[in-house]
C-alpha cells in the first residue's frame, strides 16, 4: 500500500498574485476528501516587532506598531495608544477620541471592501473585484484628504491625534459616504440575490454557533455564525458608549453570511461616522504626554476589522516599553480554522480560509495536502488548481 502522498496546492486567497510560490505553511491531511488534521507554519513576514518595540521609546514604538499590517494600521496604532495612555494615566481629549473613532470606522470600510473584492476575485468574479476596489477609492480619497496618506495614516500621537477635521473635510466625508451607501446597497443586493454568487457561497464552509463559540473565533466570521461578540458593544472604548454601533449577526454561518455581515456592518460604520462628524466635540487635539511611563501592566483591546485585537503592554517606568505583546485577530481565527476544518471537505478549505479574511501580514498561502493511500499522481498544476477552485466551492 502506498504511504501518504503529498500534493501541493495553492490556496487562492489574498491580493498577492496566487502564483506566488511560497513554501508550505498550511498542511492538511485528508482521507478521501475529508480533512483529518491540519497544521500551520508561519514566519514569512515575521519581522521581530515585539522585540523591536523594546528597543525603541514609547513614541517610536507607535510608528513601528502601526506597520504590523498595512490594512488595519490605525487599529494597531489606536490600541497601542489607548493602552499606553491608560498606563500613563493620561486621557486623550474627546475631540481626539472622536477623530480616532472616525478613522477606525473608515478603516473598517476600506478593509471590508478590500475583502469583498478579493474574495469575489477568488470566486471568479473579477467584475465585482474591480467595482468594489473602484468604489473603495472613495474611502481612500477621504482618508487622504483627512490625514495626507491613503495607507498608514499615522494619525495618532500618544495623547491624542495630529489631524483636525475642518468643515471642508467634513463635507467631503459626508458626500463620500452618500456615494458609498448607494454602492453598498448594490453589493448587498448582489450577495443576497445573485444566483451564481449564491451558488458559490451559500452553504459553503459552514460553522455552527456552537463550533464558533468553542473554537474561540472572533470578528465578523463568528458574528456570521450567530455569536454575539463585538468589542465595540461588549467593552466600549473611545466614543462607542455615546456613539454606539449595533452588533450585526447572522445565523447561517456560511460564506454567504460572512459577506452579508461585513456589508451590513459597513452601513453601521457609515451611520456612525456621520453621527460623529455632525456632533464632533470641540476642544484640543492632544494633551502632553510624559517621556517615561509609570510602571504597570495593561491589556488593551479594540475591534479591528477582522476581530478583537489584543495588546498586553508592560512598563517598568522607563522610556522604553518593557514588553508589548501583539495578538492579532487573524492568528486567533487561524487557530479556529485549523481545528474547525477537520471533518469538512477539502474542497471547502480555500473558501473557509478566505472567509476569515486573513491578514496576510501573518499568513502564507501555500497548502500541502497529505493524502493517504493515493496512487502518487502528479500534484495539480497551478492552472488546474485554479480551475478546480470554482468546482470546489459548489455546495
Amino acid at each position: 500500500m502506498t504511504g501518504p502522498h503529498v500534493e501541493k496546492f495553492i490556496v487562492p486567497i489574498g491580493p498577492q498574485h496566487p502564483a506566488l510560490k511560497e513554501p508550505a505553511h498550511f498542511e492538511f491531511s485528508v482521507d478521501g476528501e475529508t480533512v483529518t488534521s491540519a497544521s500551520v507554519r508561519f514566519g514569512y513576514v515575521h519581522r521581530g516587532l515585539e522585540k523591536g518595540a523594546e528597543n525603541r521609546n514609547w513614541a517610536q514604538a507607535l510608528y513601528l506598531l502601526e506597520r504590523v499590517c498595512g490594512i488595519c494600521s490605525h487599529a494597531h496604532s489606536t490600541v497601542y495608544a489607548l493602552g499606553v495612555e491608560r498606563l500613563a494615566g493620561v486621557s486623550a481629549p474627546p475631540r481626539a477620541q472622536a477623530i480616532r473613532q472616525i478613522l477606525l470606522e473608515l478603516e473598517r470600510i476600506h478593509s471590508h471592501m478590500l475583502w469583498v473584492g478579493v474574495a469575489a476575485h477568488e470566486a471568479g468574479y473579477d467584475t465585482l473585484f474591480m467595482y468594489s476596489w473602484r468604489d473603495r477609492e472613495t474611502v481612500m480619497d477621504i482618508l487622504e484628504s483627512f490625514t495626507g496618506n491613503r495607507v498608514n495614516y499615522s494619525a495618532n500621537v500618544l495623547g491624542g491625534v495630529k489631524y483636525d477635521l475642518g468643515p471642508a473635510q467634513a463635507d467631503s466625508i459626508l458626500s463620500g459616504l452618500d456615494y458609498l451607501e448607494k454602492r453598498l446597497h448594490y453589493y448587498l443586493n448582489v450577495v443576497n440575490n445573485d444566483e451564481s454568487f449564491l451558488g458559490r457561497t451559500r452553504g459553503v464552509g459552514t460553522m455552527t454557533t456552537e463550533e464558533a463559540e468553542n473554537l474561540g473565533a472572533i470578528g465578523p466570521v463568528v458574528r456570521a455564525s450567530g455569536v454575539h461578540r463585538d468589542l465595540r458593544v461588549d467593552a466600549p472604548y473611545l466614543m462607542y458608549a455615546d456613539f454606539p454601533v449595533t452588533m450585526i449577526t447572522a445565523t447561517a454561518g456560511d460564506l454567504q453570511a460572512r459577506f452579508v455581515v461585513r456589508i451590513q456592518e459597513l452601513f453601521e460604520s457609515t451611520r456612525n461616522i456621520r453621527a460623529l462628524v455632525e456632533h464632533l466635540p470641540e476642544g484640543e487635539l492632544s494633551v502632553r504626554f510624559p517621556r517615561k511611563v509609570r510602571a504597570g501592566e495593561t491589556v488593551s483591546r479594540i475591534e479591528a476589522p477582522r476581530g478583537g485585537l489584543f495588546y498586553f503592554i508592560k512598563s517598568d517606568g522607563s522610556e522604553n516599553p518593557f514588553r508589548v505583546k501583539v495578538r492579532t485577530p487573524s492568528l486567533r481565527n487561524f487557530m479556529s480554522v485549523i481545528v474547525g476544518v477537520v471533518g469538512h471537505q477539502l474542497a471547502d478549505v480555500p473558501m473557509i480560509l478566505a472567509g476569515i479574511d486573513p491578514c496576510f501580514s501573518c499568513n502564507d498561502r501555500t497548502v500541502i495536502v497529505h493524502r493517504e493511500g493515493s496512487d502518487g499522481s502528479a500534484p495539480p498544476s497551478e492552472s488546474d488548481s485554479r480551475k478546480d477552485s470554482s468546482s470546489w466551492s459548489k455546495p
Partner: protein, 163 residues
C-alpha cells in the same frame, strides 16, 4: 527572447535588438514578490490594476511565473525566511531582467531596520534598478517609477544587471 544569435548580418542584429527593446518597453511582464512587508505596498500595487489607475493600459502585465518576467516588483524588508526565496525568484528570471524595490522597507528596511529577523532592503540580496520610496508609495508613484525605468531602457541608460 534571449540573446540575439551571433553571426548574423549587422542589420539583422540591430533590428532584433530593437525589437527586443521595443517589446520590453511596450509590454513588460512583471512579477510581484513580497519579502515580508506589512502589505501596505502590496495593496497599492494591486490598486494600480483597478479602474482608477489601470496600469495595464501602459502595457504592463502582472503575471505569475518568474520564468516569463522582465521586471520583478518587490516589496518588504526581506525577512530571513524570504531571503533565499527572493534570490531564487531572481535567478529564475531570464536575462535581461530588472528589479524595482517598492517602499521604504524594500529600500532600506524602513522602520524595521535593526529588527532581528530582517535583512533590511532588497539590494542587500539582489541588484536593484529602481527604488520607489514611500510608506507606502501612492499608486501613481509606483506607476511613475515603472514608467521611468521603461523610458530609461529606451535611452539605454540602464545597465542590465545580470545575476
Amino acid at each position: 527572447m534571449s540573446d540575439v544569435p551571433a553571426g548574423l548580418p549587422k542589420a539583422w542584429t540591430k533590428m532584433l535588438e530593437g525589437l527586443k527593446t521595443w517589446s520590453r518597453i511596450y509590454s513588460p511582464w512583471a512579477i510581484h514578490f513580497n519579502s515580508g512587508s506589512c502589505n501596505g505596498c502590496d495593496i497599492e500595487i494591486l490598486a494600480t490594476l483597478t479602474p482608477r489607475y489601470d496600469v495595464e493600459r501602459f502595457g504592463i502585465k502582472l503575471q505569475g511565473s518568474p520564468r516569463h518576467a522582465d521586471v520583478l516588483i518587490c516589496t518588504g524588508p526581506v525577512t530571513l525566511q524570504a531571503r533565499d526565496r527572493l534570490k531564487r525568484v531572481y535567478d529564475q528570471m531570464p536575462d535581461p531582467k530588472f528589479v524595482i524595490a517598492v517602499g521604504s522597507c524594500a529600500t532600506s528596511g524602513g522602520v524595521f531596520q535593526g529588527c532581528y529577523n530582517v535583512v533590511g532592503g532588497i539590494d542587500q540580496v539582489i541588484p536593484v534598478n529602481a527604488f520607489i520610496p514611500g510608506c507606502p508609495p501612492r499608486p501613481e508613484a509606483i506607476i511613475d517609477g515603472v514608467v521611468k525605468l521603461l523610458r530609461s531602457l529606451q535611452v539605454k541608460k540602464v545597465t542590465e544587471k545580470t545575476g
